[in-house]
């Protein structure tokens, strides 16, 4: 469809403090409403801004500001929603996936501008540059999608498509040849278990996609270390923003919420960070017992040591406390020389102050938490935002089909959702024409007069 609703991140990739995701098309408001906890956007005036949260079912993805522009008073002259999110690719990608799973399409390069032109918003002189822009994308979207798919993923999608198509074709035959007793009459009761199996498969794919469930939900992480070892600077250089203020004056850091940060797609959920950000560290403030508790409940410990000094008793105790946990020892202040004597320990050398060695940290986390096999298998290649979004849309369609089947809605309605699931998968591989359905129909079933 040419007039579908499109979406894309309009801010550049990188570590900006804020990202803006634009949604344009007549379903913009209704799609965003489905993932936005806040005022009903349909009922708001144009050119207004609204506060709320983007959520996926119960899970809050981000706290956002949403600007709405009603047609025709928008850049594209269509209904436009702009979602301002916190920075980093991770949050933006999660939101894009959600939007796609609710029916938006990933915009092509320059598509907003192109729409603005086609809808008469831009004048003729701008046409040429748009032509170039569009032309630069020499492949069509589907071809491109195809190229992005590795062989195994393609096979996976095609197998799923085939399974759905078999059900759909069977129902179609039942409809078009109602009196044929050669063909099984599919009923809701027969279709339901098939749909459930499909949902399970799709679920597995979604779960195995990206880098594993734990990584996606975030790794509960605690940063420990003796006072003045540089925990706050580490945190700040990880967050790459001034959200947590590091200062000499005690009490300036009041942000008690757990911070969440994204290291190349690996989410660290930092717990008990409040203490770290005060001039008094967690050990001193909440005592060693509470610190123990924090360490126990964490999936990952980042133990910060000062490599410009020798290990003291507190360092030793922390090393001891964390020895049975998943931990990464971070030797800070590499700019000041190494006086540490740690045997049989792999240590990451960083300088939080100079932002050195941070990349290695994310690699170390991945190494600890991601099964090498998963990391190298093709399944992880399903990291493309559009693909995951589409898979979620497939799942949604299958769940609609399941609900209809349970409610004993006539089977041809159940089929509408199954066909939608099939078509969505086809949008991943670029293959889902009605001819496929007819080919399947006539190759599998003996029909005629």
């Amino acid at each position: 469809m040419i007039f579908d609703t499109i979406t894309a991140k309009t801010t550049a990739d990188g570590s900006s403090a804020i990202n803006v995701i634009r949604v344009s098309g007549e379903d913009s408001f209704s799609i965003v409403n489905k993932i936005f906890k806040g005022p009903n956007l349909n009922k708001q005036k144009t050119h207004t801004i609204h506060y709320g949260h983007i959520h996926d079912h119960q899970k809050i993805i981000d706290e956002v500001m949403i600007s709405i522009f009603k047609a025709p008073r928008s850049f594209t002259t269509e209904d436009v929603v702009e979602i301002s999110t916190h920075g980093g690719n991770f949050i933006a990608n999660e939101i894009l996936k959600l939007l796609i799973s609710h029916g938006a399409r990933m915009a092509e390069n320059g598509e907003f501008t192109k729409r603005a032109y086609l809808n008469g918003r831009l004048d003729l002189t701008e046409a040429e540059s748009i032509m170039d822009l569009v032309n630069a994308k020499s492949h069509n979207q589907l071809q491109l999608a195809n190229n992005q798919l590795k062989g195994d993923v393609k096979t996976l999608v095609e197998n799923l498509q085939e399974e759905i198509l078999n059900i759909v074709a069977n129902i179609e035959v039942n409809i078009d040849y109602p009196e044929y007793d050669d063909v099984d009459q599919l009923t809701n009761d027969l279709v339901l278990p098939k749909i459930e199996i499909l949902i399970k498969k799709i679920d597995d794919i979604i779960n195995e996609s990206e880098t594993g469930k734990m990584i996606r939900d975030g790794i509960k992480t605690v940063i420990v270390g003796k006072p003045n070892v540089g925990k706050s600077s580490l945190l700040n250089s990880l967050l790459k923003e001034d959200k947590a203020i590091v200062t000499d004056i005690s009490g300036t850091t009041r942000d008690l919420i757990e911070a969440e940060l994204n290291l190349d797609g690996v989410i660290l959920k930092l717990i008990d960070t409040a203490g770290i950000r005060t001039t008094k560290d967690v050990i001193e403030r909440i005592g060693i017992n509470k610190s123990k508790k924090a360490i126990e409940s964490a999936d990952l410990i980042l133990l910060v040591l000062n490599q410009s000094e020798k290990l003291n008793d507190l360092d030793m105790e922390l090393l001891n406390l964390t020895k049975n946990k998943q931990r990464i020892i971070i030797a800070n202040k590499m700019d000041l020389g190494n006086k540490l004597d740690l045997k049989d320990e792999s240590v990451i050398n960083i300088s939080a102050k100079n932002n050195q060695g941070i990349d290695q940290l994310s690699k170390a986390v991945k190494k600890l938490f991601i099964d090498e096999k998963i990391l190298n298998s093709d399944k992880t290649l399903l990291s493309n935002v559009r693909h995951i979004g589409k898979f979620k849309e497939v799942k949604r369609a299958l769940e609609d089909a399941k609900k209809a089947a349970i409610d004993q809605i006539p089977i041809d309605f159940v089929e509408i959702d199954l066909r939608k699931a099939w078509a969505n998968l086809g949008e991943i591989t670029g293959q889902s024409s009605g001819d496929d359905l007819l080919d399947n129909l006539f190759s599998k079933f003996c029909l005629g007069k």
């Binding site: 179609e172 078009d176 004993q408 003996c446 005629g448």
Partner: protein, 620 residues
């Protein structure tokens, strides 16, 4: 000088001729044999899934197929009753002798319409525009418009075993020469094939060995004007049997004698959905048996039709095959099965009005365009007739969208994608089949029929009153509420219905699968002045509202694409950055809208974007 000449008095030609004449165009119908107008060379069955909806649409637009079916029906049945309303389908067995008689009567009673028995040899063409026909006798008849509806007659060959003869269906004379002439004037043709099973003497059959397959009695009617239905004392049933192991042995042993399997060289492509029995055995060798229906042919013929048993075996093998079937051990064959091969034109050389892109004022409709089936033919005939009339009057064409009618799907598929095998209408071809139901064909199309001048004022008034009653009832149901009083809960409980929580609108209540309109009337203690058909409309609108709304939203998006028109004379070489394949295809098909362009195979979304930018650029 005629306004229009229609060549061929089959299901397409007759609808075309009658609609033209009704629209006050002086029309001539030229056909080989007037006693065989709209005859049914295959099974005398009309309707079924998708096809039944086509008949309803033809009726809503003012065509005659529904009326003549109702007048000649032997049996009618509603199919897919256990499924949803979108796929329910009406099918009739019509009397194969009465149908042509009734059609001839209609043709003779149509003002402005002349009938002539003759074969056309060629067209008279001046400057790329048709202006009449030349008969085999050499006689020239002039007209502004010519519509070719020659069905399976052009260069037809009947194939049985190793014999092949130049002949049309049912031993009628083939049309020789016209397809050569069409090729000469630039219309490519290709060979298609279809077949029909044997007919058997009814009194030679032992029906006790067969399973009875009755109709629903005379409760249904195709035409929205139900007064045309002829009710017989008893309906004529069908019977069901299956092929036996013995049957399969005979076919396998004789396979190389079949015209299609070694008997002779056949160029024509046959339809996958209508295979011969030998095809079925070869392609589905694991199937132990195949289903066959015995269908009535006529009240005045001692003959039945053997549905599912079409073949091109020699006569002696056919005898053996039929005698191996239960109840047919002593059957006497009155007509042998045959395959037929014929010339069809490439439907992509037609505009969506069914007018030729090659020769102005020349239209094509029906099986000659590569379709199969009486209903598909009639639908095209009607649309060609309407568009020919509009062209004479210099009015904009009448093109139905894919979300408006199966007719729209049919013609769009033909002119956009073409077909390699005889094209049959299937519900799966319609992406908006939930909107294109047989029960709402009148609501979808009667306005068009009336505005075109094919539906009488009297019938239109009846229709608008129905529509108003439906709309008012829906409004009423939406504005009326019931609360779960003790009385109401007791009623629901007694009838084993789910209870209601809190105040509920009657419309929402009707959405429930377990609540019928009658229950609503009881619960609300009021009577709605609606007949069963009207109640059905209200109920469908309530029960499937969510699905229908989604489909309408999708359809609205497509309509936007339909609204962006492409000039007929666009030069695709001036459109920058089109892929080579897309440019060729677009140039050949010459779509009239962006929607149509987007359905051409080989034209990708990026090509459509290029086209959009081009159109915008040269808009002024």
């Amino acid at each position: 000088m005629y306004d229009a000449i229609v060549i061929g008095g089959g299901h397409a030609g007759n609808e075309a001729a009658i609609s033209l004449a009704k629209l006050n165009k002086k029309t001539l119908l030229v056909t080989g044999n007037l006693n065989m107008v709209s005859f049914m060379p295959c099974n005398p069955s009309i309707g079924g899934p998708a096809k039944g909806t086509l008949v309803r649409e033809i009726d809503a637009l003012g065509g005659v197929m529904g009326i003549i079916t109702d007048k000649t029906t032997l049996q009618m049945k509603m199919l897919n009753k256990s499924k949803g309303p979108a796929v329910r389908a009406l099918r009739a067995q019509s009397d194969k002798l009465e149908y042509p008689k009734e059609m001839l009567k209609t043709l003779r009673n149509t003002e402005n319409l002349d009938l002539k028995e003759a074969y056309v040899r060629k067209l008279s063409i001046v400057d790329g525009r048709v202006n009449g026909v030349v008969l085999e006798s050499g006689q020239v008849i002039e007209s502004k418009i010519v519509i070719i509806t020659t069905g399976t007659f052009m260069n037809a060959k009947i194939l049985v075993g190793d014999t092949s003869k130049s002949e049309g269906p049912d031993k009628q004379k083939a049309s020789i020469g016209l397809s050569n002439h069409l090729r000469d004037i630039g219309h490519d043709t290709f060979r298609l094939k279809t077949g029909t099973p044997a007919r058997v003497k009814k009194n030679s059959i032992d029906f006790s060995k067969m399973e009875l397959s009755p109709g629903d009695g005379f409760v249904h009617h195709f035409s929205f004007d139900k007064n045309h239905l002829r009710v017989l004392d008893k309906e004529w049933p069908c019977y069901l049997i299956h092929t036996q192991a013995k049957t399969h042995d005979i076919i396998k042993f004789n396979l190389n004698k079949s015209a299609m399997y070694g008997g002779q060289t056949v160029d024509g492509v046959g339809p996958r959905y209508c295979p011969s029995i030998e095809d079925k055995l070869v392609r589905f060798s694991d199937k132990e048996r195949h289903q066959l229906f015995i269908e009535p042919e006529s009240r005045s013929l001692d003959e039945v039709y053997l549905q599912g048993f079409s073949t091109s075996m020699p006569h002696d093998v056919q005898e053996k095959m039929i005698h191996s079937l239960p109840g047919l051990e002593n059957a006497v064959i009155s007509k042998y099965a045959y395959a037929i091969e014929y010339d069809a034109i490439d439907s992509r050389t037609l505009w969506p009005t069914l007018e030729s892109k090659v020769i102005d004022n020349l239209f094509f409709a029906g099986q000659v365009n590569g379709t199969s089936g009486y209903e598909e033919a009639a639908a095209q005939g009607l649309m060609a007739g309407i568009n020919a009339s509009l062209k004479i009057d210099n009015l904009p064409p009448f093109i139905l969208r894919r979300d408006e009618a199966y007719i729209g799907v049919l013609i769009d598929d033909l002119v956009t994608k073409g077909t390699k095998e005889p094209y049959r209408m299937l519900t799966s071809r319609a992406e908006f089949r939930l909107l294109l139901r047989h029960d709402n064909a009148d609501l979808r199309l009667t306005d068009y029929g009336y505005n075109l001048g094919l539906i009488s004022k009297e019938r239109y008034d009846r229709f608008t009153s129905k529509r108003r009653k439906i709309d008012e009832s829906i409004d009423k149901l939406q504005s009326m509420y019931i609360t779960p009083t003790q009385e109401i809960r007791a009623y629901l409980d007694k009838n084993e219905l789910m209870t209601i929580k809190g105040k509920t609108s009657l419309f929402d209540l009707l959405k429930r699968q377990d609540i019928s309109f009658d229950i609503i009337e009881t619960l609300a203690d009021m009577h709605f002045d609606l007949n069963d058909e009207e109640k059905e409309q209200v109920e469908i609108n309530a029960k499937y509202e969510g699905y229908i709304k989604k489909a309408i939203a999708q359809a609205n998006k497509m309509q936007k694409e339909y609204k962006i028109t492409i000039p007929k004379d666009i030069n695709y070489h001036h459109v920058n950055n089109l892929a080579l394949e897309a440019r060729d295809k677009l140039d050949k098909i010459r779509p009239l809208t962006i929607s149509q362009a987007s359905r051409i195979s080989g034209v990708n979304p990026s090509d459509i974007q290029m086209l959009l930018i081009h159109l915008k650029k040269y808009e002024t």
